[in-house]
Amino acid sequence: MASVTLTINGKKVTVPRGTTVLDAAAQAGIFIPTFCHDPEIPRFGACRICVVEIPGMRNLPASCVTEATEGMVVETESPAVVEARSTILELLLANHPMDCLTCEKNGDCRLQDYCFRYGVKGSGFEGRQHSYPLDDSNPYIVRDLNKCILCGRCVRTCAQVEGRAVIDFAYRGFDTKIAPPMDTPLGESDCVYCGRCLAVCPVGALTYKRMAGKGRSWEYDKKPVTCTFCDSGCQFNLNVKDGKIVGVTAASPGPGRPLCLKGRLGLELLYCDDPQAPELKKDGEFVKVSWADALGLEGVLDKMKKLEGK
């Protein structure tokens, strides 16, 4: 395969033709921040936090969608780039609740990390802020759209599973938000609570309800585990705190890995030290159900009882 050599921050790096500047930088060990970039579903180019300076190019191109070319010179932390990133962060903060102290994602939030990196303490801009009601309309996922930075990764990962696409961008401009059809709470939609969207959300807009208040992100030791309920082989993490398994979270939403609710609940039952009772939607309302019901095992268990009992 043909390759190209470029210079990033004075460092020469050779990559296969077609590689993005972002990936080339990663190969050279140079970090470029990203929000909307998803290696599984690339080329969205919306958040613009990954802009870099390339002499000869108009403006500051987004490194996630710019192809590395022979002889290209890239600066990833030039004054113009730093100004742009800081300003974008300030713009995001201007419309973001500053409740990091109680946020479930504290310590595991890209917005927080990048503000730290660029010394952005807050936003100098005053004005309109969203005040969407908190969506905790279902037992599994809490959506706080005030924290959403509209990177769209949840939308794209949801659409990757055939027949899902439960959420999409809705409305326009400053009023853009991620919404299920008719902008209902998630609990009233066809969402199956697989948690793919939670696995990719870079901020605190999507969090696990069943993990709420149980620990800080840095207290958890994440132990990977493969679900064996079906042959998809989905990856989950066991979240271990003080030696106890507190909850199960979806790990990586790869293609062909649907990450279903049933799998996650099954793993919770199997591994959690103190599993919470599952809930399912019956006649439009969420009700507590037996584990057998939640895992679809009632029929099997009945049959087993009959066969083994007599």
């Binding site: 613009r48 403006n59 969608v65 742009a84 713009l91 419309n95 509209l150 401009g173 400053f174 853009t176």
Partner: protein
């Protein structure tokens, strides 16, 4: 044979299914396949009815039915005229033709009487009888309806004598206002499709691309990318299927040239697209028109239907094996769809959010196929380039900007309307010689060019030649060609705020800098206009403008700070006056106005007291009144009513 498009006799075998290669040429010069004086005669007669030759005893009345004249009431004129003609037995001798926009919207409804080109302005229903009686029955011009020079009062008998037209070079607008836009025969009688025929029979696709390159034509939609080069890219792009797309999503506030071309000469756009299809190897085209242009959509539908009916458009066009099909897509109300990738995404049935480039549409456009996308005016230039040659076209304009450009002249200018001028003309000539200057003896302040993506030019830059590169270097841009004139009563901070209101509400919301940045820039501008600005706001505005320009995803986002940057560049003092002195020098920002009654002039009549909706004015009868600034809501109701000019607004 009733229509120019019809066969002259049974010897003509042309049908769309079995087309004759000479069909179009034959309509004007025919018959070609046989010699028959009677046939030739009949064709000549029909042609003479379409374009009355000088000295013809027949008369033709052209009534402008562009959007401007229609809303001034030109529709009623048609019925009335037909009634009057019938009553005077003139129906056979005088033809009535409904045309597209003639350009001088300010003076509409417009009526032209051919062959003398008598030019009547502001014609009302009640004027029709007089026009028929004097001009059409007799040969006496109705002088009171002629355009009169506002300075000399001199009437202009023909439109060619009106300064508004005299200094223009109407190339693309040649047919607008002269032909019936709903008749393909009118277009063909005026050399329509001759350029396409030349391309098809005399040139290879590569030669067509070369011809357009030679012409130097650049995209008229804003960016000014060389059209021939773009066609070349699409021609070279690999693909089993290619598309031609016409961007008719003209959304800049203050721009209406594309609308006028579509309404007045739709076939020129069709011909340009078909020629492009032949050149790049595409067999399908889309025209994306904004839904707010119902008349343009209607005219396009008629034009496409007629072109298909006669085999000008469709399969095996003129028996060459070249196929081309056209579809109209009506927009659904989103300014951002004027951005090329958003437009394509919208045609595909999605939210019109721009995509990242590269890949450029030339390589991967509509449904991932190579796509040639140009705007209305660009395509409308193509027929003439093919007809007269690229060298001819390149003889007009400046070194790097060839041909002509249509501008929509609006705002504080005497002659609003549509003007087409050669590239390189000075802005001063457009505004003062053609536009007739500023009304009401006010002083010129600036002209905004290029809409929300453009900038403003102050008086000292008016002698700049109008071409792509000069405008860009002055911080403005050609844009699609809206020219909004501003006088001393226009506040430049308010204008920047106005444009940001527009871009903020039309931002698609995909990328962070545009979605959040336009909101914050607008908020800062709004605060400054309300007298709540701080000096640091200017730095914040400059930084935001710079970052949004540098980092936004699409062209619209990258250019939306231009109105701020250019007003800051040329009118920073106005910003400072708003912030430091809490004054709006133009007297436009209501919150910064103060109303004071001059006790010397006030006669104590009490009128202002009655007019004031806020009960802010007090005073005894026949004694000077006083305005309480705390209660005053600055509506200005008091000023208009004061006979003694005692109320000062400052």
């Amino acid at each position: 044979m009733k229509n120019l498009m019809d066969k002259c006799c049974d010897k003509c075998k042309h049908t769309p299914a079995s087309p004759c290669k000479d069909y179009i040429k034959c309509r004007k010069e025919g018959p070609i396949c046989h010699q028959d004086e009677a046939c030739k005669q009949k064709r000549a007669e029909i042609l003479a009815d379409i374009n009355l030759p000088a000295g013809s005893p027949k008369r033709q009345v052209l009534i402008c039915a562009g959007t401007g004249c229609t809303s001034s009431g030109s529709g009623k004129l048609v019925n009335k005229l037909e009634e009057e003609l019938a009553a005077n037995g003139l129906t056979d001798k005088v033809a009535v033709k409904i045309t597209g926009c003639h350009g001088f919207c300010e003076q509409g409804p417009l009526m032209i009487i051919e062959p003398l080109k008598t030019f009547y302005t502001q014609v009302q229903e009640e004027d029709v009888a007089e026009i028929v009686a004097k001009d059409l029955v007799g040969s006496e011009i109705v002088e009171r309806l002629l355009y009169k020079d506002p300075n000399t009062g001199e009437p202009a008998k023909t439109y060619e004598n009106v300064p508004f037209y005299a200094l223009q070079k109407r190339l693309v607008l040649h047919n607008c206002g002269h032909i019936n836009a709903e008749e393909i025969s009118d277009y063909i009688a005026n050399d329509g499709y001759a350029g396409f025929v030349r391309a098809l029979f005399e040139l290879t696709p590569d030669q067509v691309v070369e011809e357009v390159k030679t012409s130097g034509l650049r995209g008229r939609g804003g960016g000014g990318f060389p059209t021939g080069m773009k066609w070349g890219f699409v021609r070279q792009a690999q693909g089993d299927k290619k598309y031609v797309v016409c961007n008719a999503d003209e959304g800049d506030p203050g721009a209406f040239m594309d609308r006028s071309v579509l309404e007045g000469d739709p076939h020129a756009v069709l011909e340009g697209m078909m020629t492009c299809g032949y050149a790049v190897g595409a067999d399908e085209g889309y025209i994306y028109v904004r839904a707010e242009y119902p008349l343009a959509i209607e005219r396009l539908k008629i034009a496409i239907a007629q072109a298909e009916e006669y085999g000008v458009l469709g399969d095996n066009i003129l028996n060459t094996g070249f196929n081309f099909h056209l579809k109209i897509k009506a927009g659904a109300g989103a300014f951002v769809c004027g951005e090329e990738t958003a437009l394509l995404t919208s045609i595909e049935g999605n939210r019109g959010m721009p995509r990242v480039r590269p890949p450029f549409p030339a390589n991967s456009g509509l449904w991932g196929k190579p796509t040639c996308l140009n705007n209305v005016e660009t395509f409308a230039n193509v027929p003439q380039i093919l007809r007269n040659g690229g060298t001819w076209y390149a003889s007009m304009g400046t070194e790097k900007s060839k041909g002509t450009k249509i501008f929509a002249l609006t705002g504080k200018v005497n002659n609003t309307g549509l003007v087409e001028v050669p590239m390189g003309i000075s802005m001063r000539d457009i505004l003062f010689a053609i536009g007739g200057g500023i009304p009401g003896g006010k002083k010129f302040k600036a002209v905004q060019i290029g809409g929300p993506s453009g900038g403003c030019l102050p008086d000292e830059l008016l002698d700049l030649p109008v071409d792509y590169d000069s405008l860009t270097s002055a911080g403005a841009m050609m844009g699609s060609g809206g020219l909004v004139v501003m006088d001393e009563t226009t506040c430049m901070v308010d204008i920047a705020r106005y444009f940001l209101t527009f871009t903020q509400s039309e931002s698609c919301g995909k990328c962070t800098p545009c979605r959040e940045g336009t909101t914050r820039m607008l908020e800062i501008l709004t605060r400054i206009c309300a007298g709540e600005g701080k000096m640091e706001d200017i730095d914040s505005l400059e930084r935001l403008a710079r970052v949004v320009k540098n980092t936004a995803l699409c062209g619209l986002g990258q250019t939306c700070p231009n109105p701020i940057l250019s007003t800051l560049r040329y009118f920073k003092d106005e910003y400072i006056a708003h912030i430091q002195d809490k004054k709006c020098p133009a007297g436009a920002c209501a919150a910064l106005l103060t109303y004071v009654i001059d006790p010397e002039k006030c006669k104590g009549c009490g009128k202002c007291l009655k007019n004031c909706p806020a009960e802010a004015i007090t005073g005894e009868k026949k004694l000077p009144h006083v305005i309480d600034p705390a209660k005053c809501i600055k509506c200005g109701s008091c000023v208009g009513g004061c006979k003694f000019e005692a109320i000062i607004r400052a």
